[in-house]
Amino acid sequence: MSSLIDVENLTLQFKTDEGLITAVDNVSFSLKKGEVMGLVGESGSGKSVTAKALMHLNARNAVYSPESKITLHLDDREVDVLSLRKPSELQVVRGGAISMIFQEPMASFAPAITIGKQMVEQLMLHGDMSKAKAKEISVEMLDRVGISDAHKRFDQYAFELSGGMRQRAMIAMALSTQPKLLIADEPTTALDVTIQAQVIDLMKDLVNEFHMGIIFITHDLGVVAQTADKVSVMYLGELIEEGPVREVIRTPAHPYTQGLLSALPKLDDLDAPLTPVPGDIPSPLERPSGCVFHTRCSQVVGDQCMKALPERYDLDGNHSVSCHIYPKGARA
């Protein structure tokens, strides 16, 4: 399968009154067509910022390093995302070939505009179609994601729908333009567990039907295990481990990933104590030297952890990790 999007050496800093804050440091990954990738990390790990970079959507004070490169491969052309400047050029990555679903469906719909109006607006921005046609497609999409009475919902406002319904409407809106890549930023975090399962099932169906790539941002490894083909773990702006979802979950290589997994409650062994990763994610203003995780790591191997940024080490298959535990030069 060919590549859909390539992210190379993405480094992103925010200019603030306190100085430059590094949010993403030299992150590279790529996603194939129809592939589902889980992007996992605590809040502040840079996963949302990374995702927004794909749409060139970060705040105005964001500074990309000159080495950063994001390439979107479309059927007819290649798009160098970070070189897009004009809003009209940006539309291809904003709601055109890439769509995004946000964590809070309530807050991501404009409160005083009907759902239908917002859907029609997006469709008419991205395709040359009449209002009537846009409405037809919108209602069809609402129907497709399992919203009953789609005709009526079309004229309703977000506050009139239930939480699960809103997220379905959000998904319908995101998919209406038939994007090649869907970015889902914690799409199920704000939902009840039962609704979560429904929404995840829906998303899985839609991936197959529309054959698009999905980047699933979450802090919930359980959700990733159910949905993703591969997973990337981020910590403080660094991509520390990536690989096929089963391998990473069964044999996590990085101490942080191991920590995240042992912090999950186990239903088959309720007496097992939860072992959270100790400490808090450091403030981005006080980025640790060397390996950024060493301040919380239980497996520090020596001075190099405090001094040198670990290099990427390839384990078997596509599984790789950035950690000093693994010997330099002993690449597989």
């Binding site: 749409m55 959507l57 105005r60 809003p87 009209s88 940006l90 539309q91 904003r94 709601g95 055109g96 769509s99 995004m100 946000f102 809070e104 807050a107 991501s108 719909f109 404009a110 409160p111 005083a112 505009i113 009907t114 917002q118 607006e121 997006q122 921005l125 991205h126 406002y157 506050f159 009139e160 809106m173």
Partner: protein, 347 residues
């Protein structure tokens, strides 16, 4: 089948909206009645009544007054009737624009106030409109722009507007106009029009004079409104739905006006009633300097100098009625603008 259903739904909505407007109107009326009771009670709390006050005034003019005279006067004015009866009579008349006679001046209050109240209200409303006509577009653009120079300039102007007292501005403008242009900008009419019947020329003359108080009152009101609009807009711009809309490819003016600006409008409308009150409070000082004989100055005169409770009550009642009416209108506007408000009342 569907179009008919839709029409049915529409008619139902219209009916519900009509009911909402009616309820709000009744509530406004109720507010006004309660306010009138408070105002009337306050009028009563002032030591002495109208009869005493008038005769005491007469006394200072040299006429001898006896207790019997006061009693006669009281009966003539109906002051011997019970409190509630008097209030009922007062409020019934007040709603018809009839406020009886001034205690001291012995002339009909409606005649005395005449057009003064309407001029005052007109000047205040015009200042309010001026303030928001400037503040809404400028505030929205300032909040959306990250141009530091523009933002700092606006901040400076706006703080300057807030810090500069109205009377000082009025004095400065008058000084400049008199010294440089040899024109006195006082009063609302030129001499030849003051007692003339209404005509187009008189109206033009009014505008020629009224711009100054409108400008002076609008000055600080604009500064204030600018702060409000900017703050509300900055707040809305930071919200997720704006990011979500730009993630869908909405950009430029469409994004700005349809999303944050559209949603900031509700709270702005909400602040109108409060602003009118503030402007009216500032009117007397400005009016004093510009020698406008407007209702605010008359109120201060009635309260402070002559203790004319009838006149003061009438003005306070009219002012409250204006604010209650404006609040009623903003409530209805809010329901039209914001579906959340609309849906919460239409059930």
């Amino acid at each position: 089948m569907r179009p008919q259903e839709a029409t049915g739904y529409g008619t139902e909505l219209m009916l519900q909206f009509g009911r909402f407007v009616l309820t709000r109107a009744l509530m406004a009326l109720l507010t006004l009645i309660i306010v009138s009771l408070v105002v009337f009670s306050l009028m009563e709390l002032v030591p002495g009544d109208c009869a005493e006050r008038y005769l005491a005034f007469k006394n200072t003019q040299g006429s001898g007054i006896s207790v019997a005279d006061i009693e006669v006067e009281r009966q003539r004015l109906g002051l011997d009737k019970p409190f509630l009866t008097r209030w009922t009579i007062w409020i019934t008349n007040a709603f018809q624009g009839e406020f009886g006679d001034s205690c001291i001046l012995r002339v009909n209050i409606a005649n005395l106030l005449g057009q003064k109240f309407w001029f005052s209200l007109g000047i205040c409303l015009a200042s309010l409109v001026l303030a928001y006509a400037i503040a809404i577009p400028v505030g929205i653009i300032a909040a959306a722009s990250n141009n530091a120079t523009l933002n700092n300039t606006l901040k400076f102007i706006s703080y300057f507007g807030l810090a500069m007292p109205n009377f000082l501005l009025a004095l400065m403008i008058m000084l400049i106009s008199t010294v440089w242009f040899g024109e006195t900008l006082t009063g609302l009419f030129s001499k030849e029009y003051r007692d003339a019947a209404w005509s187009w020329a008189k109206f033009v003359d009014l505008l020629k004079h009224a711009w100054l108080p409108i400008f002076i009152l609008g000055w600080s009101a604009t500064a204030f409104a600018l702060q409000t609009v900017r703050a509300l807009m900055s707040d809305e711009i930071g919200k997720l739905y704006v990011t979500a809309a730009s993630a869908r490819g909405v950009f430029g003016r469409k994004l700005l006006w349809n999303y944050p600006a559209r949603h900031a409008l509700g709270p702005i409308v909400n602040s109108l009633g409060f602003d009118l009150n503030r402007i009216f409070n500032e009117l007397p000082i400005v009016a004093l300097i510009l020698t406008l004989t407007e209702a605010g100055a008359l109120l201060i005169d009635a309260l402070a100098r002559s203790n004319d409770q009838q006149l003061a009550g009438a003005i306070i009642f009219l002012l409250t009625a204006s604010i209650v009416t404006l609040n009623f209108l903003t409530d209805v506007m809010l329901a039209v603008l914001d579906p959340r408000v609309r849906k919460s009342i239409l059930r």
